[in-house]
Amino acid sequence: MSLALQDTVSQPKLAGDRTHRARQLTWLLALGLVGAMLLSLAVGASGASLWDGVFDLAMGRELSLRDSIILFEIRLPRTIMGVLVGAALAVSGAVMQGLFRNPLADPGLVGVSAGAGLGAIIAIVLGGMLPAAIQAAVGYYLVPLAAFVGSWFTTILLYQISTRKGRTSVATMLLAGIALGALTGALSGMLVYMADDAQLRKLTFWGMGSLAGATWSKVLAASPLIVIALSVSPFLARGLNGLALGEAAASHMGIPVQITKNAAILMVAGATGAAVAVSGGIGFVGLVVPHLLRLLVGPDHKYLLLNSALLGAALLLLADVISRIIISPAELPIGIVTATLGGPFFLWILLRQRGLLDM
C-alpha cells in the first residue's frame, strides 16, 4: 500500500527523459548564481575584501561611507551588469545554435558581436550628427539600440548567406562569419580613427571588452533590451526544438517557422547588441555554456534556455572575479579570462565533432 503510494507520488524517472535532471540543475544553478553574486560583491581589487560589509548589510547594519560607496556605486552595478551580460551572451548563443541547428554558432565567433560593436561605434562617432531632439529622446539608449541594429543586420545577413532551403552549411556559416567580422572590424577601426577627442573618451567609457567600467547608467541603458530579449526566449523553446528536426518537420508539427526564425534573430540581436554595447565583445560564453548544458541534461530548449541564462551569469561573474584578483591590484581584461578558458574548449568541441564541418 505504502509502496504503491510512493510510486505515484515520486516522479517516475524514465530512461531517456532528462526533464527531472534539467529541473534539478536549474535549482542548483540558481544557488550557484547567488553564490557568485555574493562573491562578486565581496571580492575586488579595492583593498579590503567586503565580506564584513556584505554581512553587515545582510544583518541590516549600517555600512561605513567608504564601504557603502564601493558596494553600491562600484560593485553592485558591476555585479548586476555581469548577470545581465552573462545571461544575454549565453542565451544568445543557445538560441543562435538552435536557429542555425549547430553547436558552433556563437555570436562572437560568427561576426554578430562585431556587427553590434560597429553599431555602437557608429552611434558614438556619428551620433552627434543626429538632430538634437532625437539625441535627447534616446539619450543613453542610443548606443545599445545602435548595437542592436548592427547585430540584427549581421545576423540576417549571415542567415541568408549560410542557409539554403532550411539547411545551414556550417562551413559557409563560419567562413561568412569570419568575413563579416573582418569587414565590420575594419569599418569600426576606420570610425575610431576618425573620432575626435571627446568621442574617443566616450568610446573608452563604453569600454570594449570588460565589466570594469560598469555604472548604473550603463546598467540602465542595457537592461531594457536584455530583459525583453531574455523574457521572449522561453517562447522560442518549442519552435527551436522543432527546428532541430528541420524546417519542414517543424512546420508539420504546427510550428510557425518563419515567425520563430524572425523572433529568434531579433532576440539574439537584442541581447547580443545590448551586451556588446556595455561590455564589448566577451567571447566564448555563448559557446561554452549551452554546450556544457547539452552534455549534462540534453538539448531540450525548454530547459536549455533558462539554465543557460543562470550558468552564463554565474560563469561570467566568476570570470570577472578572477580577472579582478589574479593580478591584483591591477585588473586583467575579462575577455582574456574567458578566451583562456573558452579557446581550448572550442577546439575540444571541434575535435569531438570533426564530421560536422563536412556537412
Binding site: P12, L14, A15, G16, D17, R18, G98, R101, N102, P103, R167, R238, N241, G242, L243, A244, L245, G246, A248, A249, S251, H252, M253, G254, I255, P256, V257, R294, G298, P299, D300
Partner: protein
C-alpha cells in the same frame, strides 16, 4: 478526405508535376507508387504545404493554403523520407517532440506506447544519432504517430503522410510498419504512403496512384492498377503480375527485361 486537384509544381525552372489530381479517403491506405524521380515525394510535399504549387489541396474540407500550421498539425502528421537531427537528443526526447499539440496529460505514457508500437520499447535512453538508419526511421514514425495518436478525433479523421516508410527496413519491420499504417486506416484514420516496394503495396494498399514522369497514370483499386501493361509502361521494364494460389499478390521484375539489354 484529402483531395488534390490540378496540382502543378515547378522546382527551379523545371515543371516536375503536371496537372496532377489525387484523392485519399479516411479508412483507407492510399499508396503512391512510381519509378525514382517520377514526382512522388514532390506530390507529397505539395500536399503537406512544403512547396509552392498551383491548384488546390483540401484536407478534411479545409484548403491547406489558408489553414494555419497548428490546425493542420492537429489533423495530420508527416514522416519524411529522411529526418536530420541537429543535437544529441535521446530517443525519448525525439518522440516527445511530436507531442506539440497540447496532447493528453500523460505524455510520458504516450511516448512509451508509441515506441512500443514501432517495436522500440527499451530504446528510450539511447541517443538518436547512434541508432541505425532503420531504427531512426522507426523512432521518427513513433514521433509522427504520437502527434496524431487517435485516428479519429472529434469526429474528424486524422492523417498520416508517409514518404517511403519502409525503404530502410528489413522484411520483418516492413511488415510491422505497414501493419501499423493499415491498423490506423482500419480505425478510421487516413494514410497516404509513398511506396517503393510493389509487393508490400499490393498486400496493404486499398487504393494506388501510379505516377510516371510527373503525371498520374491512374488511381484506382490495386487489382486495376497492378496490371502488366500499366506497370511495364510506368517502370520502363517488363513486369508481370502473378497471382499466387493462396490469397495475396506478388510481383517480380521479368528476367527477360534485363537479359534484353
Amino acid at each position: 478526405m484529402l483531395k488534390a486537384q490540378d496540382i502543378t509544381v515547378k522546382l527551379g525552372r523545371v515543371e516536375i508535376l503536371h496537372n496532377v489530381s489525387f484523392e485519399a479517403h479516411p479508412g483507407q491506405l492510399t499508396a503512391i507508387v512510381g519509378p525514382n524521380g517520377s514526382g512522388k515525394t514532390t506530390l507529397l510535399r505539395a500536399m503537406t504545404g512544403d512547396i509552392e504549387y498551383s491548384g488546390q489541396v483540401t484536407l478534411n474540407g479545409r484548403d491547406i493554403k489558408t489553414a494555419r500550421a497548428w490546425e493542420l498539425a492537429s489533423e495530420r502528421a508527416v514522416l519524411p523520407q529522411a529526418t536530420p537531427l541537429a543535437f544529441p537528443f535521446t530517443v525519448h526526447e525525439v518522440v516527445r517532440l511530436g507531442l506539440t499539440n497540447g496532447v493528453a496529460a500523460d505524455k510520458a505514457g504516450l511516448v512509451l506506447r508509441a515506441l512500443q508500437r514501432v517495436g522500440l520499447a527499451g530504446f528510450e535512453g539511447r541517443f538518436y544519432q547512434e541508432l541505425s538508419g532503420g531504427e531512426q526511421q522507426r523512432v521518427q514514425l513513433a514521433r509522427v504517430l504520437s502527434q496524431v495518436w487517435e485516428p479519429v478525433a472529434e469526429n474528424t479523421p486524422r492523417w498520416l503522410f508517409l514518404d517511403e516508410p519502409v525503404s530502410a527496413l528489413d522484411i520483418g519491420h516492413q511488415l510491422q510498419v505497414m501493419q501499423i499504417a493499415k491498423n490506423y486506416a482500419d480505425a478510421g484514420g487516413g494514410v497516404i504512403a509513398v511506396m517503393h516496394d510493389l509487393n508490400l503495396t499490393a498486400m496493404f494498399a486499398d487504393s494506388i496512384a501510379l505516377i510516371s514522369e510527373g503525371s498520374v497514370l491512374c488511381q484506382a483499386a490495386p487489382e486495376t492498377v497492378l496490371q502488366d501493361a500499366l506497370l511495364s509502361r510506368a517502370y520502363q521494364c517488363t513486369v508481370r503480375v502473378n497471382t499466387p494460389p493462396a490469397n495475396g499478390t506478388y510481383l517480380l521484375p521479368h528476367a527477360a527485361s534485363v537479359a534484353a539489354e
